[in-house]
Point group: C2
Chain length 201, copies 2
């Protein structure tokens, strides 16, 4: 049983290494320019292992979307943990990403947005994974907006589901523009309008 | 002189055909998946002509950005022509694109957004062309927002430049999400929040 558990652990470990390598490779080069060879090299595993875990590069890209969403979990937990007012937490959530993109010199951007534009018309499974991941993400934001309405920090007139969807999409648009301008200005613009004009009491 | 003028006209024509073919090819397949062969085939001109007008595929992509912006000119003229209230004209501008994307079954999206994510980190000239085109676009929207303030249809508190930049980016984000959802819902969401909550008196 112990040996079996250890094998399972190693399996999980190899799969995770392949997924993490996939996320990095897809973020830096995009889907078309990333090969299975690039991914196994980055992960430091033999090529045969790739096909043990994933039927194809497309299957990996699909799972990489879910993996990328998992990487956001600690921040989503902080978003919902009640430490500070709801809109303060939401602002802090986006501020963390602004700081992250600053350290990355405004390259690469968000895997969701990148794969959305590259694969939405080409890969139904990746499109489906993106749809699910972006809905889950919007739901996390909707939850904090509802909380903000309950504490009176957000106007009761705001339709939280519509607004959460808008905020997620506007953020993706701001990231796209950030990559063009190579500057945090579009992200600051997003924060200004979102927190000074949209999410107000 | 007449012969010379006719030659100039044909040259312009071939260049335009290559650019239009480039816009279509880049929109449907993206930059990496489009070859110079694809473009000359679409344009119906011999391959040699391509290199007479463009030093490289990258040079064409750069000029295709400006060409794509030109295609928007009739709509931008309607945006500024004083026919109807400023915000009504702006809403009509976006409605026209919503109808356009509906007829296209929500594929391909906007060339600016697609090239922004594919090439911003790889091609300084394309990034520069995108930066210019997106600034010009935001300026056209800023102009109509200023007009709306003058007619009292938009709150004087709105900082029109910041807002125009935000609207352009949020629209790109809505298009990105449209491609994931294969539905007009993200565009309708953009219109609802933009016209019911952001651009109000």
């Amino acid at each position: 049983m112990v040996a079996r558990a250890a094998t399972d652990l190693r399996r999980q470990d190899v799969r995770d290494r392949l997924l993490d390598a996939g996320v990095s490779a897809l973020l830096s080069a995009g889907y078309a320019q990333t090969s299975v060879d690039d991914i196994v090299k980055r992960a430091g595993v033999p090529k045969g292992s790739f096909y043990y875990y994933f039927a194809s590069k497309e299957a990996l890209a699909s799972d990489a979307v879910a993996r990328y969403a998992e990487m956001d979990e600690p921040l989503r937990e902080a978003l919902g943990n009640g430490n500070g007012k709801p809109l303060v937490r939401l602002k802090r959530y986006f501020d963390t990403y602004v700081a992250h993109y600053e350290t990355k010199a405004f390259v690469s951007g968000c895997l969701f947005g990148n794969l959305a534009l590259e694969l939405s018309d080409l890969s139904p499974p990746v499109r489906q994974a993106l749809s699910q991941a972006m809905r889950d993400w919007a739901l996390a934001i909707e939850t904090v907006l509802i909380e903000a309405q309950e504490t009176g920090d957000l106007s009761a007139k705001v339709e939280c589901r519509t607004m959460a969807g808008f905020v997620v999409n506007a953020w993706e648009g701001a990231l796209l523009r950030m990559r063009v301008e190579k500057s945090a200005a579009p992200l600051q613009n997003f924060l200004t309008i979102t927190f000074d004009q949209l999410l107000v009491s």
